[in-house]
């Protein structure tokens, strides 16, 4: 391509944003972006625009289908649509309330009281979350459909890492990636719900620190519940209401404990 410092073409910058570059070109563009603030601004703006579009239209993904579409698919709505939506909302509200109460009860004894400095892996987990969650085309390194995903990450992390199934709560496992954490390997699993929101579960080996209860940490609008259950440390990160994130963290904890 061209010499460093020179502006990139629009086509190059867009191809970079959209994950259309070969690996070696990607590295080169990244180098040149570092030397070209105007292009780096463009990358930032377009990523923000994409994120804003997903947020703006996310409601459509979660909405129930209109009756005429259901009829075409041979699915008859059980109630007239308006009523169905209202009843579903009431039922959902009740369930959330109940689940919240149950989780609150179960977790109260677990949540630690004394504030302590955050272990560094929590910061790393939130950092990795904020970097990979906005990715449209390459959010994960290995997709969930590939059988070796968990085996590979467990091998690399050097401990029995598992990807909990959160589909009952509406979160689908997308896949995962291997990350460096202070020179040691860490695993990140990513989940997505029907509304396009994403969660990541960050796991690394931890033999130095003591086991902890759930703790909550927040930075730049991202929240994370983290805990240590030796030999592993976990951080569940997302941009969700705290109660919702806690409910998921509790499900993760419950599943991993039963192994």
């Amino acid at each position: 391509m061209t010499s460093p410092g020179q502006r990139l073409s629009e086509a190059e910058v867009n191809a970079y944003i959209d994950g259309e570059l070969a690996l070696e070109d990607r590295d080169e563009v990244e180098g040149r972006l570092a030397a070209s603030p105007a292009d780096a601004d463009y990358v930032h703006d377009i990523r923000e625009l994409n994120e804003a579009m997903r947020a703006r239209y996310a409601a459509r993904l979660a909405e129930p289908l209109p009756a005429p579409m259901l009829a075409l698919l041979g699915r008859v709505p059980r109630w007239p649509p308006a009523l169905a939506t209202r009843q579903a909302a009431v039922v959902a509200g009740l369930l959330v309330g109940l689940a919240g109460a149950a989780v609150g009860y179960a977790v109260r004894s677990l949540v630690a009281e004394a504030p302590r400095p955050e272990p560094s892996f929590v910061e790393n987990a939130i950092g990795a979350h904020s970097v990979y969650v906005p990715e449209v085309r390459h959010p994960v390194e290995v997709r969930a459909a590939e059988e070796h995903l968990v085996r590979w990450l467990a091998n690399r992390v050097g401990a029995p890492v598992r990807a909990p199934s959160l589909s009952d709560l509406g979160w689908k496992l997308m896949g995962g990636r291997l990350l460096p954490d202070a020179g040691a390997p860490a695993a990140q699993f990513m989940y997505e719900d029907a509304g396009g929101r994403r969660l990541t579960l960050y796991i690394r080996k931890e033999t130095g620190l003591d086991n902890t209860a759930f703790r909550f940490y927040q930075r730049n609008g991202y929240g994370a519940f983290y805990w240590i259950d030796r030999p592993l440390a976990y951080a569940l990160a997302g941009r969700l209401p705290r109660n919702e994130l806690l409910a998921v963290a509790n499900a993760v904890y419950g599943q991993l404990e039963r192994r």
Partner: protein, 172 residues
């Protein structure tokens, strides 16, 4: 073909999202999806095994969208509020940035909007987008660059102070 029907059904929420963003109107978007669904279900056997259902469905949607545009353009020219509407209306109040983006998208040409949405919102590759729209990849790239550049100006990203980003710049 129950499994194909299921695969089609699973894509509907995404199709609705795209149609809503493309057309800027809930009712029109659902009409388009209803037609898309009807046509898809009538032609399930044309969907080749192994072909990505999303791409196939977006292609059907696109063809119907273009048919709809042609029908509209055959009607007597209609110069009313529709063609000037947004440009004369005041920018929405602060905090309505969602609507700003929606309006800004509607100010792009349809061709630019399709590409900006298929790539940026739906995550299609350039090659998939080119197939869906039946245009060369080079055209995808040039429309994308123009559309994103324009959107960036409309959303006040470019140049201006970053604090005022959410505001839609008034169009002269």
């Amino acid at each position: 073909m129950p499994s194909r029907r299921e695969a089609v059904a699973a894509e509907i929420p995404r199709l609705r999202r795209y149609a809503r963003a493309l057309l800027g109107d809930d009712g029109e978007a659902d009409d388009l999806i209803q037609d898309t669904l009807e046509r898809a279900l009538a032609r399930l056997e044309q969907w080749r095994d192994g072909e990505n259902p999303r791409k196939w469905l977006f292609s059907i949607l696109h063809n119907l969208y273009v048919d709809g545009l042609r029908r509209k353009s055959r009607r007597p020219p209609h110069v009313g509020l529709d063609s000037v509407g947004i440009e004369q209306s005041a920018p929405p109040a602060d905090g309505a940035s969602g609507r700003d983006l929606d309006q800004a998208l509607q100010l792009l040409s349809g061709e630019q909007r399709q590409v900006v949405l298929l790539v940026g919102l739906e995550g299609l590759s350039y090659a998939e987008t080119a197939e869906v729209l039946d245009i060369p990849v080079g055209t995808v790239m040039s429309r994308l660059a123009r559309g994103r550049g324009r959107l960036r100006v409309l959303m006040d990203y470019e140049g201006g102070d970053k604090g005022g980003r959410a505001a839609l710049r008034r169009v002269k």
